[in-house]
């Protein structure tokens, strides 16, 4: 804490920004990100969009897993629900994106509620297994409900449109995805300053004491599932709009594990952590590809190793983080920040 920086009321202690400086810096960063697409190549625009979508998904998962302590292996399934809902509403019904995206989120929230019901009786390991089952059931439905999801061949989605505005390329898509991401981040950050968010955290830390203190565990667990799957559903909807064609193969169980990895590597119960984790996991395969491309002249055999390399590095990073930095990158970031705050007079 800085010298002379006193907090005199609860509201001050709970404020989003400790001091004016982070507010200025954050505005600067947002502004920079807003003009960035004007200079980025198509490839990096695509990566940028995928990072934003991954951030939304990771934040959604963090609500239920990091903040409420309910382990979910169903992220890929919820992304798929959001994506296929978008395909149906935008493709078949021709609705504009301002209606489709929230509706996809709501539909996913409803599916999330159904699979959240086991969480009322089950905890920890058993819940993880239940969501694993949910994943396979959704995958089966997506593969076999041909008329709705296009089955294994997939289904194509028209470009996002609203009142004559057609978001036909990645640059235009960015200006849809980016504000949604920032909005949801602020929503989630603020959620944990309210009664509801505090109740989630209380359930995670000690569910019995939470109940004793008057938190209706039953209702808040379900609410947590609903909020989380709403956010993940929005991510799925944007994913569908961005990819333009989706099939059940786009949502394998490894995707759910990737998202859990983002949350773990970034930091459980931390919005900042979800952002770090999402950036890291999305950039990992891109960096590996750039690396192997550069080295493929010397070792052409390397090209075939990209896929296993990605899985291997991912697994290794997750294991190393869990053993050496269980609180994730967000904790490391806070250490660094605390160190520089008083530099060079740290004592």
């Amino acid at each position: 804490m800085r010298c002379g920086d006193f907090r005199e009321s609860y509201a001050e202690d709970m404020s989003l920004f400790e001091s004016p400086l982070p507010r200025v810096l954050l505005s600067g960063l947002l502004l920079f990100l807003l003009v960035l697409p004007q200079f980025a190549t198509t490839y990096w625009l695509d990566v940028l969009n995928r990072i934003c979508i991954a951030i939304i998904g990771a934040v959604g998962l963090n609500v239920v897993t990091g903040y409420t302590g309910l382990i979910s292996l169903g992220t890929a399934a919820f992304l798929a629900v959001g994506g296929f809902a978008t395909a149906a509403m935008a493709g078949k019904a021709g609705l504009p994106f301002v209606i489709v995206i929230p509706l996809s989120g709501l539909l996913t929230a409803m599916v999330g509620l159904v699979f959240g019901i086991p969480s009322l009786r089950l905890k920890g390991l058993y819940l993880a297994v239940a969501t694993l089952a949910a994943h396979y059931i959704v995958e089966f439905t997506a593969t076999h409900w041909d008329s709705m999801t296009g089955g294994v061949n997939g289904i194509s989605i028209p470009p996002a449109q609203f009142a004559g505005l057609v978001l036909s390329d990645d640059r235009k898509m960015f200006y849809l995805i980016f504000p949604v991401t920032v909005g949801l981040l602020f929503f989630t950050k603020n959620l944990f300053r309210t009664k509801v968010g505090k109740a989630f955290v209380a359930i995670r830390d000690q569910d019995i004491s939470a109940e004793v203190m008057g938190v209706n565990v039953f209702r808040y667990k379900l609410l947590s599932f609903a909020v989380s799957s709403f956010i993940v559903g929005v991510a799925g909807s944007l994913l569908a709009y961005q990819a333009r064609i989706i099939s059940p193969e786009n949502f394998p169980i490894t995707l759910a594990i990737d998202y859990l990895g983002m949350v773990i590597i970034g930091g459980l119960g931390s919005i900042l952590g979800s952002i770090f984790g999402a950036i890291f996991i999305t950039l990992l395969p891109e960096m590996l590809r750039l690396g192997t491309d550069a080295l493929s002249n010397q070792w052409p055999a390397l090209m075939q190793l990209v896929a296993p390399l990605k899985a291997g590095v991912f697994g290794l990073v997750v294991i190393l983080f869990l053993i050496f930095e269980p609180d994730g990158m967000a904790a490391r970031w806070n250490h660094i920040k605390a160190y520089w705050k008083l530099y060079p007079f740290s004592y």
Binding site: A133, I137, L305, V318, I319
Partner: protein
């Protein structure tokens, strides 16, 4: 009728391998409270090592099988020592994630060394079928069924009568009490992981032998064992033994009778539908210890 019997037999044989691999799950869960999501990779890795030794290095099958088991035991011990021991006392999410990370890592190693294409597995079982009543049954099925049964009996006796087996059960009951009775809990953890790796490797070799081919996709078998152990009760060895054939028969019947109706895939999804049902009705399974938690 013959179709039904065929499905039943397939179910029992595959189910017996479920039991064997499920035993690995239960042994690890009982002693260390970890659900090992990397079990499927243990299974595939064991089968690949046996395949490589037999085909590439021309080791007789019997010896390559023994070498595979030795390797698996070692791998189990190393996994426990390097990855799981630092995680003692961490929350459940970390324990789940670390085995998922391990599964990803092992998958990458398998794919990096052996690639993704289907490789023919050496014919370890005689080819011509025997007749049981009207039904032609391949000898591979019978041999695998008998060997699994023998193994399950051996393990049951091991847990009941040997010093290490009793120590394992004591550790599962209470780690603190076993420590004060002079049992090395670390050694028990290592033993549990090596047993799990060994039974998975045996399951992998049998499964690859029955199928006649081997590829990385067989790791899915590890995930399909999860419904089996939940059905039987996660901390019950008897549950794994009973749950295996039940689930095997169930998924084969679902595959045989529902697939034409829904257009395939019923066999893969049936165990998970059953899983959801068990979890909502009787979450601790048929024989699991009931921990009442009203939250």
């Amino acid at each position: 009728m013959e179709f039904f019997l065929q499905l039943l037999l397939n179910g029992i044989v595959v189910g017996s391998i479920y039991s064997l691999v499920g035993l690995g799950f239960v042994v690890i869960y009982k002693s260390t409270s970890v659900l090992n999501f990397a079990q499927g990779e243990f299974l595939v890795l064991g089968a690949y090592i046996c395949l490589t030794l037999t085909v590439q290095y021309q080791v007789p099958f019997f010896w390559s099988f023994l070498l595979t088991l030795a390797f698996s035991a070692l791998m189990g011990i190393l996994t426990e020592r390097l990855i799981l021991r630092p995680m003692i006392g961490e929350p459940v999410i970390s324990l789940i994630m670390v085995t998922l990370g391990l599964s990803s890592l092992l998958k990458a190693i398998i794919q990096g060394i052996w690639g993704t294409e289907l490789r023919p597995f050496p014919d370890i079982f005689p080819a011509e079928p025997v007749k049981i009543g009207p039904l032609p049954v391949s000898q591979g099925y019978l041999i695998s069924l008998v060997s699994v049964a023998v193994l399950l009996v051996i393990f049951t006796l091991f847990f009941k009568f040997t010093r290490s087996g009793v120590a394992m059960r004591a550790t599962a009951f209470s780690q603190q009490v076993s420590l004060s009775m002079g049992i090395s809990v670390k050694r028990i953890f290592a033993l549990a992981w090596s047993i799990a790796a060994v039974v998975s490797a045996i399951g992998g070799v049998l499964l690859a032998g029955i199928r006649g081919g081997l590829d990385g996709a067989m790791a899915f078998f590890g995930l399909k064992v999860i419904p089996v152990v939940i059905l039987g009760g996660l901390d019950s060895i008897a549950g794994a033994i009973v749950g295996g054939p039940i689930m095997g028969i169930l998924e084969n019947l679902a595959g045989g009778y529902l697939d034409p109706l829904v257009g395939g895939g019923a066999k893969e999804v049936a165990p998970f539908v059953v899983l959801v049902l068990i979890l909502t009705i009787k979450p601790y399974g048929l024989f699991g210890k009931v921990k009442i938690e009203r939250v």
